[in-house]
C-alpha cells in the first residue's frame, strides 16, 4: 500500500491517540457537588439541628454502650444465621426427604413472618407457653439445668434467637445459591478420589461456594446492623434504643437520631472494608 492511500499526509510515528473527552461527567459531577453543598448548608444554617448537642452526645457513655450492644448482637446473630444457613442449605439440597422437607419448612416459615413479630414472640410468648427451661437426661430423673423461662429469656437471648433464626432462613438461600454455583464436575472429581459426600461438601464445594456467598452475606450483615434496632422492642439496649431513651427526656430528637446514624455509618463502613478483604482472600486462587 502506498503512502498516498492513507488519510492525511502525516507519517505514522507523528500520530497521537487522543482518548474520548468525557465533558458530560465533569458537568454532572459539578451539579452533584452543588446540590450536596446546598443541602448541607441548609441543614446547618436552618438551626433546626443544634450541632453542639450532637457533639455532646456522640461519645456519651450510654450511647457508646448502645454501640457496643449493637455490634455484639449483630455479630452473634449473623454468626448464628450463617451457621444455620449452611446447615439448612445442605439439608435442602440433600437426597434425604426428611431433611429437604424440614429445611424448606424452616425457610418458608422464618422468611414469611415479620422479624418484629418473631422477636416479640420469643420474648413474650415463649415464657408464657413454657414456664420453665429444663435440660434433663431423657428417661431418667437426672436434671442438668432448670430455671424459669422468664429468667432465661433475657432481652439479649430473645434478640439473639429472633434475629439469628430469621437471618438463618435468608442465609440458607444464599448458601444454597453458592453451593449450586459450583460445577458438578467438582463433586465427581472428589467422589472419584474416594471422598465421602460430607467430606466433599466441606473440603471442595463449600470453599468454592464462598466466592458467591460472601457478597450477599456482606449485604445481609449491613442489613443486620440496622435491623438489630428492632430488638429495642424486647428492651435490648442497642444504640437506637439508647438514643430514643435520651431524646424522650430532653426532646432533642433530630440530634440524637443524627448521633445514632453517624455510628451506624461508621460501623457499616468498617464492615464494608472487612468484606473487601474477605473477598480478596477467597478470590486469590482465581487471579491468573
Amino acid at each position: 500500500m502506498s503512502a498516498t492511500d492513507a488519510p492525511g499526509g502525516t507519517a505514522p510515528e507523528q500520530l497521537r491517540a487522543v482518548p474520548i473527552r468525557h465533558w458530560g461527567r465533569w458537568v454532572a459531577a459539578a451539579a452533584i457537588l452543588l446540590v450536596v453543598a446546598w443541602l448541607v448548608s441548609a441543614l446547618i444554617g436552618s438551626h433546626a439541628v443544634e450541632w453542639s448537642v450532637v457533639r455532646h452526645y456522640l461519645f456519651n457513655k450510654t450511647i457508646l454502650q448502645g454501640v457496643r450492644n449493637t455490634i455484639i448482637i449483630s455479630v452473634l446473630a449473623q454468626a448464628a444465621g450463617i451457621a444455620l444457613g449452611v446447615v439448612f442449605a445442605v439439608g435442602r439440597l440433600s437426597r434425604n426427604p426428611v431433611l429437604t422437607f424440614t429445611s424448606s419448612f424452616y425457610v418458608w416459615f422464618f422468611r414469611g413472618t415479620p422479624v418484629l413479630v418473631q422477636l416479640i414472640f420469643w420474648f413474650n410468648a415463649v415464657p408464657l407457653v413454657f414456664k420453665n427451661l429444663t435440660i434433663a437426661l431423657p428417661f431418667t430423673h437426672v436434671v442438668l439445668y432448670t430455671s424459669p423461662m422468664v429468667k432465661f429469656m433475657t432481652p439479649f437471648m430473645a434478640a439473639l434467637l429472633g434475629l439469628g433464626l430469621n437471618e438463618g432462613a435468608y442465609m440458607a438461600e444464599i448458601v444454597r445459591a453458592g453451593i449450586l454455583s459450583v460445577s458438578h464436575g467438582q463433586t465427581d472429581a472428589a467422589l472419584a478420589l474416594g471422598m465421602t459426600p460430607s467430606l466433599t461438601m466441606r473440603r471442595i464445594v463449600l470453599p468454592q461456594a464462598m466466592r458467591v456467598i460472601i457478597p450477599p452475606t456482606g449485604n445481609e450483615f449491613l442489613s443486620m446492623l440496622k435491623t438489630s434496632s428492632l430488638a429495642s422492642v424486647v428492651l435490648y439496649g442497642e444504640v437506637l434504643r439508647r438514643a430514643t431513651d435520651i431524646y424522650s427526656t430532653n426532646l432533642r430528637v433530630l440530634e440524637l437520631l443524627i448521633v445514632a446514624s453517624l455510628w451506624y455509618l461508621l460501623i457499616t463502613s468498617f464492615a464494608s472494608v472487612g468484606q473487601y478483604f474477605l473477598e480478596r482472600r477467597f478470590g486469590r486462587a482465581y487471579i491468573r
Binding site: 472428589a190 467422589l191 478420589l193 474416594g194 473440603r203
Partner: protein, 250 residues
C-alpha cells in the same frame, strides 16, 4: 480386574446401556470407541459407581461395585463403603475438574491426606514425586487457572495416581485440549501403560488406541458392537457400524 455382566442403565425412559459384557485383565489397556451418545462415558462412570446401574453387575478386582451380594439380593453399600472402593480406582475427566481453590500440589495432596489419613509431610513428598512423573515438578505452587489445559490434565493424572489406584479410568482426557497440548497428556498415559497400570480409556485418539490398547471396544446405541485387538477392530472392522464410524474419524 474389571468384569461387567449384563450392565443396564436408563436415564428416565432412555436406555443408555443395554446389556454390556466386558472384561479387562490386570495390566491391560482397554480403549472404548464410539459416537457420542453411544454410552461409553456412562459405562465408564458406572465402573466407579458415579452412576448407579439398573441391571447386571460390575466388579473391580473381585469386589462388586456399589453393592454387596447376599443370595439373590444386591444390597446397596453405604456411602462410606462406596467411597472406600472408589479410592482404589482413579479417574481422569474430559474437563480436568481440578479443584480451583487449591494449588496444583494441594490438589494432589488432598485425597491422600483426607481419605487415607497421610501426614502433611508424607503427602507432600508423594505429591511432589507424582508431579515430577508427569513433568510438572516446578508447577506445584501454581493455581489451576495459571496452568494450560495440558498441564491441568497432567496434574489431574498425578492427583489420581497419588491414591495408588489399581485401575485408572480416562473419560475423553484429550478432547478439551488444544491440538498441540494433546501429545504431552498422551505421553503421560503411555508411560502409565508401560508401567503396567490397568486402564480403561474413552478416547477418539486412534493413534493412541493402535499403539497402547490391548483391547479395543466399539460401542453404539448402548451395546458392544465389536471388540478385539486394535489390528482387528481399527484396521479390519467386520461390522458395518464400526466401518461407518471409523471412516468419519480416521
Amino acid at each position: 480386574m474389571v468384569t461387567a455382566e449384563g450392565v443396564c442403565k436408563r436415564f428416565g425412559r432412555t436406555e443408555v446401556l443395554a446389556g454390556i459384557d466386558l472384561t479387562v485383565e490386570r495390566g491391560q489397556v482397554m480403549v472404548l470407541l464410539g459416537p457420542s451418545g453411544s454410552g461409553k462415558s456412562t459405562f465408564l462412570r458406572c465402573i466407579n459407581h458415579l452412576e448407579k446401574i439398573d441391571g447386571g453387575r460390575i466388579s473391580v478386582d473381585g469386589e462388586l461395585v456399589g453393592y454387596r451380594q447376599a443370595g439373590v439380593n444386591l444390597h446397596e453399600l453405604k456411602e462410606r463403603e462406596v467411597a472406600a472402593r472408589r479410592a482404589q480406582v482413579g479417574m481422569v475427566f474430559q474437563h480436568f475438574n481440578l479443584f480451583p481453590h487449591m494449588t496444583a500440589l494441594a490438589n494432589v495432596m488432598e485425597a491422600p491426606m483426607q481419605v487415607k489419613g497421610l501426614s502433611r509431610d508424607a503427602a507432600r513428598t508423594a505429591a511432589v514425586e507424582q508431579l515430577r512423573r508427569v513433568g510438572l515438578a516446578d508447577k506445584g505452587d501454581n493455581y489451576p487457572v495459571q496452568l494450560s489445559g495440558g498441564q491441568q490434565q497432567r496434574v489431574a493424572i498425578a492427583r489420581a495416581l497419588a491414591m495408588a489406584p489399581k485401575l485408572m479410568l480416562f473419560d475423553e482426557p484429550t478432547s478439551a485440549l488444544d491440538p498441540e497440548l494433546v501429545g504431552d497428556v498422551l505421553e503421560a498415559m503411555k508411560q502409565l501403560a508401560r508401567d503396567g497400570m490397568t486402564m480403561v480409556v474413552v478416547t477418539h485418539e486412534m493413534g493412541f488406541a493402535r499403539e497402547v490398547a490391548d483391547q479395543v471396544v466399539f460401542m453404539d446405541g448402548g451395546v458392544v458392537v465389536e471388540r478385539g485387538t486394535p489390528a482387528e477392530v481399527i484396521s479390519n472392522p467386520r461390522e458395518e457400524r464400526t466401518k461407518a464410524f471409523l471412516s468419519k474419524v480416521l
